[in-house]
């Protein structure tokens, strides 16, 4: 099984961990499978997650195997009881997942495109997130939701959202944003095992990327960020796909002699205040990069935390590099201009540093 040992910077302790290079989509599916084996109360629902049924036998055909083939093959192994194809009723099946979670199961909901969270919004906000608190801690809601976010695939305004900040705003809900296969495995496993409702936001641009994944069973603690690169001149804060954008920007900046700390937040709610402040103490400068639109966003939140708790260490204004306050356009060139690019980050870093 072990194809090669770690070449990726997963941090100290991971230098000699057995693992292999895998695509995001493959480790995502493998992790779903592992968690379903691990706990028989874990099951999945969503539209076309097996996809198609034989009219005569009534058996699932696994024609789609889920949006982006996230669940391909699972219905053969676990059957339609645990891979439940649902009608196009996101509100009802998200609500049913809350009901199932309240009564002893651990449902996973595939919401397909992140944009569709809006039709299930009330069940998420009023029931999933609030039940434990408003019922005085009598119960818990151990459910996981995931969906594909982000621009860059020509899906236009209604299939390209990155509005995870709205979910992170909701008390009672947790939100995680993997940025590579390693974090996908660790965060998905941790989310499924967590006793609170967790939303995993999966940028489409990551799905076909590869990266190193340790073979061992591991989880990544919800609420923890990590360094993707260490430097001294400025801190770049990324989340989801913009962590990759930050890494690329850091490479370009290195060529100009500017060394960057690159932080991948990984979790948006709860999130890692400590890593932000720790890095700013060292670099004294920061640029936050977010594909979500800017107003009341996670970029704003990180800026606000730093402007309070990190104020004394700052040498320069806190700059955000985000999408414009606009829906996502269809045309490829406009869409590219919409998304924060490494060049935008480089430009802002130089501005902030007065270079």
């Amino acid at each position: 099984m072990v194809e090669k040992t770690n070449t990726n910077p997963l941090g100290p302790g991971y230098e000699n961990v057995p693992g292999k290079e895998m695509r995001f989509r493959d480790i995502f599916r493998d992790t779903l499978r592992a968690e379903m084996i691990r706990d028989e109360n874990v099951f999945l629902m969503g539209e076309d997650i097996s996809g198609g049924f034989d009219k005569k036998t009534k058996e699932p055909l696994d024609a789609w195997g889920g949006p982006f083939a996230a669940t391909k093959g699972l219905v053969q192994e676990f059957g339609p009881k645990r891979i439940r194809d649902a009608p196009i009723s996101e509100a009802a099946f998200t609500g049913a997942a809350v009901g199932a979670a309240l009564t002893g199961l651990r449902p996973i909901v595939d919401l397909m495109y992140f944009d569709f969270v809006t039709v299930a919004y009330d069940q998420l906000l009023s029931n999933a997130a609030k039940s434990r608190y408003m019922f005085g801690g009598q119960t818990k809601v151990p459910m996981t939701l995931f969906a594909r976010s982000g621009a860059g695939t020509g899906h236009a305004a209604q299939h390209s959202e990155s509005f995870y900040s709205m979910l992170a705003h909701i008390p009672g809900l947790k939100v995680v944003v993997p940025s590579d296969p390693y974090s996908a495995k660790g965060l998905l496993a941790a989310s499924i095992r967590d006793d609170d409702p967790v939303f995993l936001v999966n940028d489409k641009k990551l799905i076909n990327l590869s990266g190193f994944v340790p073979d061992e069973d591991y989880t990544i603690e919800l609420g923890k960020g990590r360094y993707l690169r260490n430097g001294n001149d400025i801190t770049l804060v990324g989340m989801s796909y913009t962590s990759i954008v930050c890494k690329e920007a850091a490479e370009k900046l290195a060529a100009d002699g500017i060394s960057c700390d690159v932080i991948d937040m990984m979790s948006l709610s709860p999130f890692d205040e400590d890593i932000l402040i720790e890095s700013i103490k060292k670099t004294n400068n920061v640029v936050i990069v977010d594909e979500d639109t800017p107003r009341a966003s996670m970029a704003s939140e990180f800026a606000a935390v730093i402007a309070d708790k990190g104020f004394d260490y700052l040498d320069s204004p806190i700059r955000r590099v985000t999408s414009p306050h606009s829906p996502v356009p269809y045309n490829r060139d406009l869409e590219k201009a919409f998304m924060p690019q490494p060049e935008d980050v480089v430009y802002s870093v130089k501005q902030v540093l007065g270079l």
Partner: protein
């Protein structure tokens, strides 16, 4: 269906408990002892009672803003309910929920819910758990909702989903003719809500929701169907709320005296009494003794609630998540 004597007593006791709880609760609300808005369900005793008569603690119900009757019929403790309405730490939800959010998971009560229609899929989810876990308990889910809630898309989605997945769930519509001040004849585009069931491949039954015997019979069939794995049923119970939409609502502004009188003549409790006495199923003494027990219970409930402490301010930060984290404390 013939009803066993113990069940018959339970039914009377439950209806009377709901009636007196609501009256007592209203009194307390007007005295300023409830902390928020309350929605009394007196008049509507038959639906929760007739349905929950068939359920055990392993079965689950979802409820509404008008949830006290459902709670009581599902066996919740009236002292803990009263304390909750008074916002006390001894309340069913530690004072965090209030009248519109009473839940008791140990009794299979998924919570009153203040968003119209929002609890419907929760009962579907509970039914999914029941089916998923299979024979362990053979339990079912019941979703209570009003005529007004039928205008919410979530009902439609939930009925279709339950039908597609053939889940053991009962959609229990308490049609009391009004959603706030809006009459059902105005806002609901069909005479009988139950007529919509056919479009979802499930039986739809209309019963007199002022008659607990009718409700009991219809619910018995639906529960049997559900437990036998034959899927969901929609039961529409035509009923009436004696009081306003919420404690301070004046029904005279939108309901006629004639109409109110008509329904009072169908009073579920009085007609139950008449019937069991004339059919010699229960004696007047039995009824009286139940009543006086409940009067005592109400005194105890108020006493308990009034003498209970308020929650600790530190509890503000508790139970947002399973594990406490100081990052929720906000920014001060």
């Amino acid at each position: 269906m013939t009803i066993p004597k113990t069940k018959l007593k339970w039914i009377y006791e439950t209806m009377y408990r709901i009636r007196r709880f609501e009256e007592t609760m209203l009194e307390q609300t007007f005295k300023g002892n409830a902390m928020g808005v309350t929605h009394p369900s007196d008049g509507q005793e038959a639906p929760p009672t007739g349905i929950c008569a068939h359920l055990t603690n392993d079965d689950w119900i979802g409820s509404t803003h008008r949830g006290h009757g459902h709670c009581i019929a599902k066996g919740l403790d009236t002292s803990a309910m009263m304390a909750e309405i008074m916002g006390r730490s001894t309340g069913q939800c530690g004072g965090k929920g209030g009248s519109m959010h009473i839940a008791d998971f140990s009794k299979g009560m998924l919570g009153a819910n203040a968003i119209v229609g929002a609890s419907i899929p929760l009962a579907v989810g509970a039914a999914l758990t029941a089916k998923y876990k299979g024979d362990e308990t053979n339990s079912i889910g019941v979703s209570f909702f009003g005529d007004g809630a039928t205008s919410q898309g979530i009902l439609h989605e939930s009925m279709n989903l339950a039908s597609v997945w053939k889940l053991p769930v009962i959609f229990a519509c308490e049609n009391n003719g009004y959603a706030e001040a809006t009459p059902a004849w105005y806002a609901v585009s069909t005479e009988d809500i139950a007529s919509r069931a056919e479009g979802y491949g499930m039986p739809g039954i209309v019963v007199d929701g002022m008659d607990v015997f009718e409700v009991y019979d219809a619910a018995g069939e639906a529960v049997k169907r559900a437990r036998a794995g034959e899927g969901p049923t929609l039961i529409e119970m035509k009923t009436y709320r004696y009081h306003g939409h919420f404690h301070a609502d004046d029904t005279k502004k939108y309901r006629t005296d004639e109409e109110e009188k008509l329904f009072h003549q169908k009073d579920p409790i009085i007609n139950f009494e008449k019937r069991v006495i004339s059919q010699k199923l229960m004696t007047k003494t039995e009824l009286e003794s139940i009543k006086s027990e409940i009067e005592k219970e109400m005194l105890v409930a108020v006493e308990f609630a009034m003498n209970s402490p308020m929650p600790d301010i530190k509890d503000l930060y508790k139970d947002v998540y399973v594990e406490y984290s100081n990052s929720i404390e906000g920014l001060r």
